[in-house]
């Protein structure tokens, strides 16, 4: 393991950390309602407060945590819940591959620690900072990650503690908030290539699977249909070998 410490990338760790925090705080505020919602829904789906906090602290990926809850509530086989969490988070492979070259001045230990916090906005801001010609230093990166992470974990606990007190979950629509949330995430990805065909094919395939082979297979079958479609129609450039 490399333990070389390179100070060139860190003109001033403290000011870099604060610069990162300034990028992190808006994201911390925007994600707060969903952190609280996660805690409340976790309890509604049979989690304890401790389990809700553990999930936010160790997985730290909102969409996949909600997916885990939804499937947990449907009494789906444990391995399939784990696999679905993995599938939703698989996009991080691309973020990691993109951020890796920006973090070459980090030590191996800093990389191993820092990549844990590589959530969607963290990736987006790192790319943005690099495009501005500024170094993506470890202090800046952790300055951004710290407020988002601490609040995300705390919100799970607060949401879970108060979630059990909701009197009439049906009247408040609690059982149907997740599909609305997932629809919002689907819409957030709409600028990606092939988005509409992928969504349509996955929708049709998942509905068909839901009514034939049944839950939970509609998740894997529907997702696979969309992914295969995107791969088949990917613009592969003609190249002279």
């Amino acid at each position: 393991m490399s333990t070389v410490i390179d100070d060139r990338a860190a003109p001033s760790g403290g000011s870099e950390f604060l610069a990162g925090m300034r990028r992190g705080i808006p994201i911390m505020l925007a994600s707060a309602p969903f952190g609280l919602l996660f805690g409340a829904l976790a309890v509604d789906n049979g989690f304890t407060v401790g389990e809700a906090v553990l999930m936010s602290a160790t997985i730290y990926a909102g969409a996949s945590q909600m997916v885990g809850l939804e499937l947990f509530g449907q009494k789906v086989a444990p391995w399939l819940i784990v696999f679905s969490i993995f599938a939703v988070n698989f996009r991080h492979v691309l973020y990691s591959a993109a951020v890796g070259p920006l973090a070459t001045r980090w030590t191996t230990l800093q990389q191993a620690f820092g990549f844990f916090f590589l959530v969607d906005p963290q990736y987006a801001e790192a790319e943005r900072r690099n495009e501005q010609g500024k170094p993506v230093g470890f202090a800046w990166y952790m300055g951004m990650a710290t407020p988002i992470y601490i609040c995300w974990v705390a919100e799970a606990g607060i949401g879970a503690a108060f979630g059990g007190m909701i009197p009439d979950t049906y009247a408040l629509g609690v059982d149907f908030l997740l599909p609305i949330y997932f629809l919002g995430l689907v819409m957030e990805f709409r600028s990606r290539p092939m988005w509409l065909p992928v969504v349509l094919v996955s929708a049709i395939a998942s509905i068909a699977a839901y009514y034939t082979i049944g839950s939970p297979w509609h998740v894997s079958v529907g997702a696979l249909a969309g992914i295969v479609l995107a791969a088949i129609f990917a613009p592969v450039r003609e190249r002279a070998e």
Binding site: V67, I85, A171, V186, M187
Partner: protein, 97 residues
């Protein structure tokens, strides 16, 4: 430990692997095959769609209306605006109908 804790920890390990894996594995290749990249790019939308579409077919009027309104609002507003619009429609219709 309970099954829930095991599910959480296994999910956490795999999630961490996706976050370090790209740097460790993909960076060793000169380039990612375009089909693989296109497939990976489609994963989030494809997986998340399967959690909405079948549920939409089983829902009643409040549920469908909430999804339609939220979907339309998402074209213009941000995540928070769309989520609150959908939730408001859902709660109103469930209590009024």
């Amino acid at each position: 430990m309970s099954t829930t804790v095991w599910i959480i920890l296994a999910g956490a390990v795999l999630t961490y692997l996706t976050r370090v894996g790209g740097h460790l594995v993909l960076s060793r290749f000169e380039r990612i095959h375009p089909r693989v990249e296109a497939g990976l790019n489609a994963v989030p939308a494809a997986v998340l769609t399967t959690l909405v579409a079948p549920v939409a077919t089983t829902g009643g009027l409040p549920e469908l209306a909430a999804l339609v309104v939220a979907g339309l609002v998402a074209l213009r507003g941000g995540m928070m605006t769309m989520f609150i619009s959908g939730a408001v429609v859902l709660i109103l219709l469930r209590n009024l109908l």
